[in-house]
């Protein structure tokens, strides 16, 4: 049986940033006189950072595959936004069809960049730097330098809409749907945990002690339901939450549990060894960049919907936010190490910093300085703790 000490020792690096996120949240909660964690602000915080969260997922895969980054995602997002604007606002095209076309174009951009990176082995840095310039140029050309606005409500709802409350609230001010969704997720979580434990016992593996196991479940359930309550107290479950939630789940599962996910880690860990183990590393690299551009398209749609405009200036520095989120979340700049959940936590750390400092009225100059410093410290902590472990 594993004791609490073992659990901590084995997972300290994994939980380190999560704990930092909580500490930072509490810190700003106090400094902002409790505004930070108001239900409305929590919802806003995630909405504001939705695009970073989506991009960070894709960026994690790129970084995992060998320390590569994608500098073009900001420009690609802007370009997709411009296409959506042109199709919907200028050409009055159907919203659903437009989204479909936008995603296809995202994939096409990924194929274009992936081809150069994976099959001709032009360094990703160069290809995506070129992409960053090219797609920014295309965006400005397509919009003729002007901002297109407004989008129909149907399109805006992607970023600003809420899942309607089917239960009608029962006279309370709470959104019951959000609570129900929280409860359903809780039940699924508990079932999965018990199944996992039974499976481990079947193989005669060590499992964590029962009280500890229960404590962990209670803690997680409290977290899920508290969050659901918080959402219910405002307007309920934002549509974008559902989208991001699904993306996080799917990509976490993909990277940690599936064979292709393993291939990405293996390639980043040692490409030669991966190739000699029968992994088509070109294909893996190609896929990560197609996927990145696809998610950049998703982020572009989400951002355009939130802004309610297609702007030539959209998406500037998105790539840097996403990259920073990955590294704060524990990804290695050499590839092969990192997690999707880590990147999400990293993105939330940045988000809380942004939001907290904005509420406090800290100037954007100061905000940049602090964010940069946090990035440096997070990675330095990671590198130093690894060095200490080695000696």
């Amino acid at each position: 049986m594993q004791t609490i000490k073992d659990v901590f020792k084995n997972n300290i690096r994994q939980y380190g940033m999560f704990i930092a996120l909580i500490v930072i949240s509490i810190f700003f909660q106090i400094l902002t006189d409790g505004i930070l964690l108001l239900p409305q602000n929590v919802t806003n915080l995630v909405l504001q950072n939705s695009y970073v969260l989506i991009l960070a997922i894709g960026m994690t895969l790129c970084i995992l595959s060998g320390g590569n980054i994608d500098l073009s995602v900001g420009s690609v997002s802007a370009f997709i936004g411009a296409i959506a604007g042109t199709l919907i606002i200028n050409m009055k095209m159907d919203v659903g069809l437009t989204i479909f076309i936008c995603l296809l174009i995202g994939i096409a951009i990924g194929i274009w960049q992936g081809f150069w990176i994976a099959y001709l082995r032009i360094p990703a840095f160069i290809v995506t730097l070129a992409g960053m310039l090219m797609f920014r140029g295309l965006t400005i050309a397509m919009l003729k330098g002007l901002t297109l606005s407004p989008f129909p409500e149907e399109f805006q709802r992607i970023s600003t809409g809420f899942i309607p409350d089917v239960f009608g609230g029962f006279g309370t001010k709470l959104n019951i749907t959000a609570l129900v969704v929280g409860a359903i997720i809780s039940i699924i979580y508990v079932i999965l945990q018990f199944k996992k434990r039974a499976e481990q016992k079947k193989y005669n593996f060590e499992v964590i002690a029962m009280p500890l196991f229960i404590a962990k479940i209670v803690l997680v359930l409290a977290g899920i339901n508290l969050f659901a309550y918080w959402l219910a107290a405002y307007k309920g479950l934002p549509i974008i939450f559902v989208l991001i939630g699904i993306l996080v789940l799917v990509y976490s599962f993909f990277t940690t549990k599936t064979v292709p996910g393993r291939y990405i880690y293996a390639m980043g860990g040692n490409e030669k060894a991966a190739r000699l183990s029968g992994i088509n590393t070109n294909k893996v690299l190609f896929f990560t960049y197609v996927n990145m551009a696809f998610l950049a398209a998703v982020a572009g749609i989400v951002f355009a919907a939130r802004l309610n405009a297609a702007s030539p200036q959209a998406g500037i520095n998105f790539e840097l936010d996403a990259i920073a989120a990955c590294f704060i979340g524990g990804a290695s700049a050499y590839g092969g190490v990192g997690t999707v959940s880590g990147a999400i936590i990293g993105a939330l750390v940045m988000g809380v910093l942004n939001n907290g400092m904005s509420i406090m009225g800290v100037g954007s100059d100061m905000q940049m300085i602090i964010k940069g410093f946090v990035l440096l410290m997070a990675v330095a902590f990671d590198v130093l703790s690894k060095n200490r472990a080695r000696v």
């Binding site: 193989y203 593996f205 549990k257 064979v259 880690y265 040692n270 030669k272 060894a273």
Partner: protein, 505 residues
Amino acid sequence: MRNITKLFPGVKALDNVNLKVRKGEIHALVGENGAGKSTLMNVLSGVYPYGTYSGSIFFEGKECIFKGIKDSEKTGIVIIHQELALVPSLSIGENIFLGNERAKRWLINWNQTHMQAAELMKRVGLRESPATLVKDIGVGKQQLVEIAKALAKNVKLLILDEPTAALNEKESENLLNLLLELKKEGITCILISHKLNEVLKVADSITILRDGRVVETLDRHKDDVSEDRIIKGMVGRELTNRFPERTRKIGEVIFEVRNWNVYHPLIEGRKVIKDVSIKVRKGEIVGIYGLMGSGRTEFAMSVFGKSYGKHISGQIIKNGRELVLNSVRQAIENGLAYVTEDRKSAGLILIDDIKRNISLASLNNISKNLVVDENREIYVAEEYRRKLNIKCSSVLQKTGNLSGGNQQKVLLSKWIFAKPDILILDEPTRGIDVGAKYEIYKIINNLAEEGKAVILISSELPEILGMCDRVYVMNEGRIVGELDREEASQESIMKCIMQSIKEVV
């Protein structure tokens, strides 16, 4: 060195070690991996600074307090690590004076650099221009550059950590002769080596380390020193046979390569493999003996799903059926496995744990609908850990923290788990100590007894002679001889190579 003790978290790497090296001698340091040889030398050369260990170091009668490598180098102690510390994209001359530039203030005197470099290169017998880039010369010559670099620092005590590990026999001999030359000039030398024949050839005294302690120091001129005696000291028991016995059950021809030709992937028109044909039977261990550069690795990799070379032609026949293997995946699916000679850079993912390394080549065997069954993965890893006796704290340990022998066992596990019929093992015991070698040999024998066909590529003659049922001799990309177990001997194999050289001339 007196009473040196060095602690690592959880391990006592050196325990009260005393080492006395006389001026002007070649002193060999032998021991299994993890015995503490490298740690001891790192203490001596200041890699582990004064204060991180206990005990004291005396050099020429004076106590030394080294805060870093710079201090020890000033005293005249220079260490050459196994992984060479050269900058590939700089010239030989620049490398020789790296960190020790011939310069006036900040301005490098290039004439002096090249002139002195040429002198030093002559001293070590390196016939190249000082302006040649280090990446353009072979490992053997790079080793000489390292020695020249040490000489440029006015070395009095030269420490060499496994200098011949990556060298072929000719190059090794040159290097050893050079050490004898340097000895005549009065340079003292500490030599760490696994190759006992080399140790016996050049060393004046031999210190044997085991588990961080000195077992004994032998004087070659006084004591009766033999390989067996040293091995006994190293492993702490008598090794009656360095190659385990095996019951031979050799069956039908299972695998055949015919008229195999491969061209260099970068240099157009250069043929690397010329008309090679080999065959292997079930349960047979076939050796391919060849020196580095003979084309043995290139041959194996080109067969293994065309992982090397281009314009590949020839036939691969398994069980009478011709195979076309265009990718490593296909090769694995058709029952081939290739265990690389370079386990660190091409075999293992060092930042990943043992279980993930073992499963990597056969993830499909432990997954359903592309979802990996992680419990099954641990189960499999545990099974191989037991079977192959991998020494580790758990299968969740990172492979980068394992010793060479255990890393090799993980690599073997990975390929055995891929359930191949034909295993190509490329230098499976390189850089591994005697005890672990024996275990690896046992594993190879077991594989053959299970009816698998094993192709053993090696540049160590005793290994080829001790293990193989049949030997192909390879030189310059050609098979220049095929010898049965009975015919094969050091002389007959060398004769094949000599003859082939004559024919070409």
